[in-house]
């Protein structure tokens, strides 16, 4: 298996896994917060937030990537601040690829979690409060266990989306081997050179395998959790 993929191809696969892992993990708390706010919150900017969260889903990925470059690029308002204050650079780095992937995957993650939260009966949370649970305890002992399948679904969807992100990534962080050349970028690059079809096809196989593996894992996890929650 190791000999089957060339070192460049392995690099792309590992980079993709790393980028997607951090993109998913990093956006998880924000995704959960947004999903909670959208499902339960009653505040003035709720519609605006909903809109913002869904924007990457409807914008052309290139546009999202370019907006990221404008904002988080070395001279962009946020990028310059991060660079000057913390010495963090995102543009043309794998961290930038993770940010792009996270933003593109965010709507899918929030959607899945929001649906799960909306399915939880607030009456159960009321009951928990009358039994002496603080809001935090209500969340950790009632809400969270009940929405776990939704969280898992959201995480897997986000991970799969991050693995496949191409347009925003290549616009924001380019296609640098070993730094920002993820599997889709690598496939694209291989297809640009004569004789690269074989390598591209091998990466396609890997991409399909990872996608199917993720789906099977999420199905299995959700079913296990759903079973526990349904009390069967």
């Amino acid at each position: 298996m190791i000999g089957w993929l060339g070192p460049d191809e392995w690099q792309a696969v590992f980079l993709s896994l790393k980028v997607s892992f951090w993109a998913t993990l990093g956006s998880l708390p924000f995704g959960l917060l947004c999903a909670m706010a959208l499902a339960r919150g009653q505040f003035a900017g709720r519609e605006v937030l909903n809109w913002l969260v869904h924007l990457p889903l409807v914008l052309p990925p290139v546009v999202t990537g370019y907006l990221l470059l404008l904002t988080f690029g070395r001279r962009g308002p946020v990028g310059a601040f991060l660079n000057d204050t913390f010495g963090i650079t995102l543009a043309f780095q794998w961290t930038g690829a993770a940010l792009a992937a996270a933003i593109m995957a965010f709507p899918l993650m929030v959607r899945a979690m929001r649906l799960a939260i909306e399915a939880v009966d607030p009456k159960l949370e009321e009951a928990a409060a009358t039994l002496g649970a603080t809001r935090l305890r209500v969340f950790t002992t009632v809400t969270l266990p009940l929405i776990l399948p939704g969280i898992i679904a959201g995480v897997v969807l986000a991970f799969a989306k991050a693995m496949g992100e191409f347009g925003a990534t290549i616009t924001f962080v380019s296609n640098i081997p070993g730094e920002t050349r993820t599997v889709p970028s690598a496939i694209y690059a291989f297809l640009q050179v004569p004789g690269g079809e074989a390598a591209a096809l091998r990466l396609v196989t890997v991409a399909v395998a990872i996608a199917i593996g993720a789906l099977i894992l999420s199905e299995w996890l959700s079913r296990r959790v759903a079973k526990r929650i349904a009390g069967k």
Binding site: D121, K123, L124, E126, A127, A128, A129, T130, L131, G132, A133, T134, R135, R137, T141, V142, P145, L146, R228, I229, A230, G231, K232
Partner: protein
């Protein structure tokens, strides 16, 4: 430890303006659906915030709009039993029962003891999804008790159950009242539950308390017949089992005389409550003879209340107790029944309203 409520809250259809005290024992909040009972209980529990007013439980101020006091739900220490059992589906019965201890860390585990009291010991390791309505409600009651509340709020806990399941739970509620001594605020619009459980009644209409008092007084007030419903109006008397003879007819003493009921599963000396519906009472000017009815009490008419229909409600004194009878206006006129008339109340049926056995025993007729 009394509960004192004085709250105002604007709701969709009317304004809640409720003021009452709930002494120790079981206070029944009675009223038609939509009279604001649930909103009152939710306000007491802290699930609703009144616009103004005060709620004091024992010596703890739970809510005071003027002083800007509003104790959060989880710190009110009031057990809440809802209409639906609200079991946590991801937990077992035992974990549901021990939930309060898990989140607060206080209290001693008395799970087994409480489960025993409520007859749910055999369910402890079960998941909650297969529980019947009655079982779920008993677990919910147990869960509330195990949170060691200062008081128990029960919002129509039996409303979602059929008659048979109700009969199954009522004895547990009575046991609960006796064994734990916990004060209960009990919301219902079911007269059988009122007769069986109430030690104090608060009557609500359109968000306002119209009357409150002891069941003996309220249930036998002719003016209240309209509220409780003509079929459900009737007196609740304290009785004492004096004899359990061989022939299967128990002899009970009430303040106005003796009652005879088909065997009651209670030992001689037991105290219980009997319910006598106004529509089951016949009046006679002379002591009736040659009648199959066993239960005849000498009474003196206290008041005759005429309504719009053909019936009148007669309130009578029987010993220290008050009774109600519903007879036709024609009979009342023909018999010359008015305040002060001495006559005899013949009871077609007497129901045991409160003991460990089921409701609705019919007396020999």
């Amino acid at each position: 430890m009394t509960l004192s409520v004085d709250i105002q809250l604007g709701l969709d259809s009317f304004t809640l303006n409720t003021r009452f005290d709930a002494p120790d024992g079981v206070t029944v909040l009675f009223g038609r659906s939509g009279s604001g009972k649930t909103s009152v209980v939710k306000s007491i529990a802290g699930l609703l915030t009144p616009d103004s007013g005060r709620i004091v439980q024992g010596d703890r101020v739970l809510f005071d709009a003027d002083a800007r006091t509003n104790v959060p739900v989880h710190k009110r220490r009031l057990g809440y039993v809802f209409q639906d059992s609200r079991m946590f589906p991801h937990l077992t019965v035992r974990q549901n029962l021990e939930y309060a201890r898990r989140v607060t860390g206080r209290g001693v585990v008395r799970t087994e003891e409480v489960a025993d009291l409520l007859g749910i010991s055999h369910l402890l390791d079960r998941r909650t999804h297969g529980l019947s309505g009655g079982e779920g409600q008993r677990v919910a009651i147990g869960r509330a008790i195990l949170s060691e509340p200062d008081m128990l709020l029960m919002d129509e806990p039996l409303a979602s159950l059929d008659t048979q399941r109700k009969a199954e739970i009522l004895p547990y509620l009575e046991t609960l009242r006796r064994e734990t001594g916990l004060s209960i605020l009990y919301v219902t619009h079911n007269m059988a539950e009122v007769a069986r459980l109430a030690t104090h009644i608060v009557l609500m209409e359109d968000g306002q308390v119209v009357r409150s008092g002891a069941p003996e007084t309220l249930l036998t007030d002719p003016d209240m017949v309209r509220v409780f419903g003509i079929r459900d109006a009737g007196a609740v008397l304290s009785a004492h089992v004096v004899a359990q003879p061989e022939d299967g007819v128990s002899e009970l003493a009430v303040s106005g005389g003796r009652l005879f009921l088909p065997t009651i599963d209670a030992p001689v000396g037991a105290d219980l409550r009997v319910r006598i519906l106004a529509q089951d009472v016949i009046l006679s000017k002379t002591r009736p003879e040659g009648l199959s009815a066993l239960n005849i009490l000498p009474v003196r008419v206290v008041a005759v209340r005429r309504g719009d229909g053909p019936g009148v409600i007669v309130q009578m004194q029987a010993g220290e107790d008050l009774l109600l009878a519903r007879i036709t206006r024609r009979s009342a006129d023909a018999m010359g029944i008015h305040e002060g008339t001495d006559c005899f109340a013949v009871m077609k049926s007497v129901a045991v309203a409160q003991t460990d056995i089921a409701v609705g025993l019919q007396a020999g007729g």
